[in-house]
């Protein structure tokens, strides 16, 4: 009937073996949608990033990302648009001005 050998508790060596052959495949989108069960149940903390740098993650994220560049294509488009508006407004103002001499009441 079923095997009667007890399953051995997970040894840290198993993960080391895993580490030597890292899972190299780069997943394409849509593949492997589910969060699969882990190959082992437990592993020591020193094999994770949580134990390194005291869990510091600042190197993984950028908090200051504002873009001051005004020479890219999008900025040039906006410059053009705003510039057109300014010129249009100026011309409209100029053309609407009445330069004729005013009549005086006698």
């Amino acid at each position: 009937m079923a095997s009667t050998t007890e399953s051995k508790p997970t040894e840290p060596e198993q993960l080391n073996a895993n580490e030597q052959k890292p899972e190299q495949k780069h997943l394409a989108l849509g593949e492997d949608d589910e969060f699969e069960d882990f190959p082992i149940d437990d592993w020591p903390a020193d094999q994770t990033e949580a134990a390194q740098r005291n869990g510091e993650t600042k190197h993984l994220w950028e908090e200051s990302w504002d873009d001051d560049d005004t020479s890219d294509d999008f900025s040039n488009q906006l410059k053009w648009v705003v510039g057109s508006l300014l010129v249009s407004t100026l011309l409209l103002t100029a053309l609407s001005l009445d330069f004729r001499p005013r009549r005086r009441f006698r």
Binding site: M1, T4, F38, L60, D66, F74, N76, S88, L95
Partner: protein, 575 residues
Amino acid sequence: MSLVTQFLSQIHQQVRNQQGDLLRSWLQVEPESPKQYHDLAAELRARFSRQDAIDKVVEDALPQLDDLPEGQATAWPGLLAFLKDYLTYWRDVDFTDLLGAHQLLSGLVNSCSTAFAHPTYGSMLLQVSMSLSETLARLTMNLNRRPDLTRRLRVVDDDNRKSVAESSAEIIQKIFTTCLTDRTGTRTSKPEGKRVGVYMFANLVLKLLFAVCLPLLSFALRCLQFIPWRQELVVLCCSSYYDHASNRNFTLSKCRRTQLAKMIFVNIESISPPLSLYPAAQRVTFLYYLGRFNFSNHHYNRAALCLQEAYLQTPPPLVSHRCNILTYLIPSNLLLGKFPSDTLLSRPEAQSLKPIFLPMCMAIRSGNFIQFQSHLAAHETWLFEKGLLLSLSNRLRPLLWRSLARKTFILTYVPPQDASSRKAATLDLSHLLTVATYIQRRLEGWLPGNPTALHRPSQANPLLMQALRNNVQPFAETTLAPPPGGPRKLRPNEGLIWGNAMVSYEDIEMTVATLVQQGFMHGFIAHSQGRFAIIGAKAKGSPVLAGWPNVWQTIKERRYEDDFGIDQVPGWVTL
């Protein structure tokens, strides 16, 4: 001696000695089980076709004893019922009939959960319960990918209809509750007895609840291609991630899935031992699902906290797990104003995600709605199936508007000649309106009217020449040419405000006011002058720095109610 009797005699011995691991390896249910199990099934079909025959053989083989030597256990009624169901399962199961097999296995796991609830001896069935639940979950997932089969389960009464996944999740949840309410040890002591299984079973239920959403969403996406008001359906469908179409008219109702997941987290929060006392695989899996739950409920900071910890606790060689975690961690942080660094994006697990999220970050940085919308459209299906589309397409808009206002200010602001001037730096809202109108036109398919000029902005006064040539017409007509086939029909989330609605001055004023209220722009609106005035430019050293504070710092420093801790995640029990 018949095979059935031999089998039961072994089980009896294992029960007597409380050998949970042996019970697990003997009580197999998979079609790939060794030949002996199929022989056992044949014998059951030949000699035990009547239920009373099975009942008798089980009761004879496993007597319920009163006087027991120290350390030994006896059978109990729940166990006998479970074993009767086990033999019935092997007698009746037909592995080519997935629905029938699921029904039989559901009954078996249900009776296992009842046996497991026995206060004294139930814990010997912990491993059996886990192995049977895992098989049930696997079978359920397979069934879930076969709508042709599950359709047959539909009944007339829509209100009481449960999906296959929901009913499986509910059965496994009973085992989870038994584990959670076990009184062995204290809350913070090393888990013993049934409490060992708290997070194992919670994870299994959560896996089922999250996995079943995907086919539903794919189905909804397919429907959207045929329904004119499809955007509204997207909004309804996505805003309640767990919602499902409950009748033929696609009326979406809150379903049990939300409640079931919520119930698990609430129960864990109330009485579960700390997560840190459990093995790493269980910790990471639980945090992954807790993160996804919070993301679905728009708690992006909580989601980021859970997913970040899950990511950090997963060893780097486990690339696919880290990739799955990043799929939700990157958008959570994006929504909080934290972008993935080059270091993160160069890692193996980020390679498939980089083409999705990097252009998105670039579009947000420059306030480029045109690039943002076209990128969303290119990856719409994937984002939708992951449950990310609605959050990203709607909730990143404030950041895009912030960047657009900032860029418009940089392009139009002229500092005063007099350095000692006390005049506040301002952004003319009509400039922002002009820019927004231009973007809306581009989204509708209008083309730049003089594309060569666009690439030669340094030429002598092209603006004036162009304006004069067009005899002072409205700017959109001077800079853009109408699309040949007419404006593109935009869905509500594809337009700057709402579909093809033109951007008005009121829209701009309201958007800026909202950004000020959210803290993403620092200053006030001078309504009568139609300007946004920046406060504190001198103190910060620059009107741009003062007017557009750091997004993440702003979110972090917002005032919250006293009992709300920004770093607290309900359901994540810590020591």
